[in-house]
């Protein structure tokens, strides 16, 4: 089922949680709402579910206006950050809950309910826990049960609010891969909220970046990462080095140094520029003809890449990541002089940063 979010605005007191948000989510897609905490993403998810109501705007489910419909009638599955399982019910009863509370004439026979619960528990690979109680399960297991419980009522839309937020890093990684596989299996339109850009980029078909109640950019993970539409998106997705300077005749001027801008260029005037740590080439020594002169402060060469912290002449710190092999070939050490040559610079007009 497709979801259309049309001009949704929501205010809490004087705080504008959502400001004229419009998003179209086609049927069967897995979409991430990504943004810093307090940006309004959870509020938007709750409005889609019918747990909160917008001040203005509409939610269309499959083209029908659902704005006034109660959460009971929207046929959405909602998964909460802290699982919200029913503590006094066994795992099987938790999953069966949505089937058992149906009006008598629509209710399935008890044997059919049990069969479905078993199938769902197999789907989330936890059928051996059917008779346990939620407090006996680990966080990752509880969240999978919460998902099975939400899927039991065959929702048209699955909404997940920071589903992995309360889990430790390793479980989180496992579970998000698993969620992606599950989605490829069942293909129910899904929206999940996260503040973790890595999670959003890895799992989602499309990412909606939200900041201060507004949509900054909508696109595939590749497009929002490689072609950020705003300084906020550039800054929020992945680590990044920020430079303040001026753009003049195809060059970015930083103090007395100038860096050539590629084909993308940038409009003339004061500008902010972003370069990701892995988009620098490192050249030993200082060269008059190009690159930013700097000095290596610290090197952490653990794992496949070397994280290098360099300091520009004026003291500003820059992070550089290159492969460990390449770093070893350069034969550089802490304290050495280097020139930084960015392969890719994203330039925005300075005024855009304030927005």
């Amino acid at each position: 089922m497709s979801i259309s979010i049309r001009n949704i605005s929501k205010q809490f007191g004087t705080f504008q949680a959502l400001d004229d948000v419009s998003i179209d989510i086609p049927s069967g897609e897995l979409v991430a709402l990504l943004g810093p905490s307090g940006c309004g993403k959870t509020t938007l998810l709750r409005i889609i579910a019918g747990l909160d109501y917008a001040d203005r705007g509409q939610i269309l489910l499959d083209g029908d206006d659902a704005s006034a419909r109660h959460v009971r009638e929207r046929r959405v599955g909602f998964v909460f950050q802290h699982y919200a399982l029913f503590r006094h019910m066994s795992i099987a009863d938790n999953v069966a809950f949505g089937l058992r509370v149906r009006p008598r004439r629509e209710r399935l026979a008890e044997a059919e309910i049990r069969r479905r619960v078993k199938k769902l528990l197999e789907l989330v690979q936890l059928d051996w826990l059917a008779d346990r109680y939620p407090p006996q399960l680990s966080g990752g297991q509880r969240q999978r049960i919460a998902l099975a419980r939400a899927l039991a009522v065959e929702p048209k839309v699955l909404l997940l609010d920071e589903p992995f937020g309360a889990l430790d890093a390793k479980v989180r990684k496992e579970l998000r891969r698993w969620l992606r596989q599950l989605h490829d299996e069942i293909h129910v339109t899904s929206v999940f909220v996260t503040h973790d850009q890595e999670e959003a980029l890895e799992v989602a078909d499309r990412v909606v970046v939200i900041n201060k109640g507004k949509v900054e950019q909508i696109g595939t993970p590749e497009s929002v990462y490689d072609h950020p539409a705003t300084p906020f998106v550039a800054n929020f997705l992945g680590s990044v080095n920020l430079f303040h300077g001026r753009v003049e005749d195809g060059h970015l001027h930083l103090g007395e140094h100038a860096l050539a801008l590629g084909a993308e260029g940038g409009s003339e005037g004061r500008a902010v520029a972003f370069v990701r740590p892995h988009e620098f080439d490192l050249v030993p020594g200082w060269h008059a003809d190009g690159g930013l002169p700097a000095r290596i402060l610290r090197v952490a060469a653990v794992g496949p890449s070397a994280q290098i912290e360099v300091s520009r002449v004026d003291g500003e710190l820059i992070e550089v990541t290159i492969s460990r092999d390449a770093f070893q070939l350069l034969g550089l050490a802490e304290g050495d002089q280097v020139s930084l040559r960015p392969r890719h610079i994203r330039v925005f007009q300075a005024e855009a940063l304030a927005a």
Binding site: L51, F86, F97, Y133, R149
Partner: protein, 278 residues
Amino acid sequence: MASMKRFSPLPGFGLAMGYTLVYLTLVVIIPLTAVGTKTLTMGLDAFWAAVSSPRVVASYQLSFGASLLAAAINVVFGLIFAWVLVRYRFPGKGLVDALVDLPFALPTAVAGIALATIYSANGPVGKLLEPWGIEIAYTPNGVLLALVFIGLPFVVRTVQPVLADLEKEVEEAAAGLGASRGQTFLRVILPHIAPALLTGFAMAFARAVGEYGSVIFIAGNVPMVSEITPLLIITKLEQYDYAGATAVASVMLVFSFVLLLIINGLQGWMHHRYARGA
């Protein structure tokens, strides 16, 4: 014991346990044993005559019946009170919250006199009820009213924190799965607070069985009708019938103890059933 002390991560087991036993002995066991030994001074026939006379049996019925009923009423209204205090914000909430505890602090005689005055046939509330044929003061209804009054805080105070502990998300999850409000209450909220409700019930009941001060002012104390067992015990004491008084007291003691044991057992079962591994 020595090895246990050495390895226990919790300090002070020996001291705390010893203190508990001494305290329990001095404050609870010795006085209660005295009741038993005094009772033993009378013969079995005399004991049976003392505890099974029609007037005494009628008082048991009133004391235990009214106490159970009052505790049951308090479970319903205490739950509503706790619900309002936990769920809603309204002006004067702090005041209402404080008023709930008043029956704890008020001298029971004051409560009894106040209730009797207000609910008697010519009191401000009793006057309104009289045309309907409802009499409260100086009837068993009065006993019930006084017991409801003193028992209310027990239920409110035991349920309140447990209710506050229940996350809003759990109810939202139930609604999202299609449960109506009624189903959410019966299947999700009630099982969660049931152990606390039962504790509140047990405490309100225990308090009501032993209550004396407030009841005697409003009950009218008519033998066979509105006379509670604690009053009968006092009456016997005043007639220097010490053995008779302790005989009735020991019957009450055993009754109450058995009832509380049953409630405790029920609680243990519920805890096992609903809060496994928590």
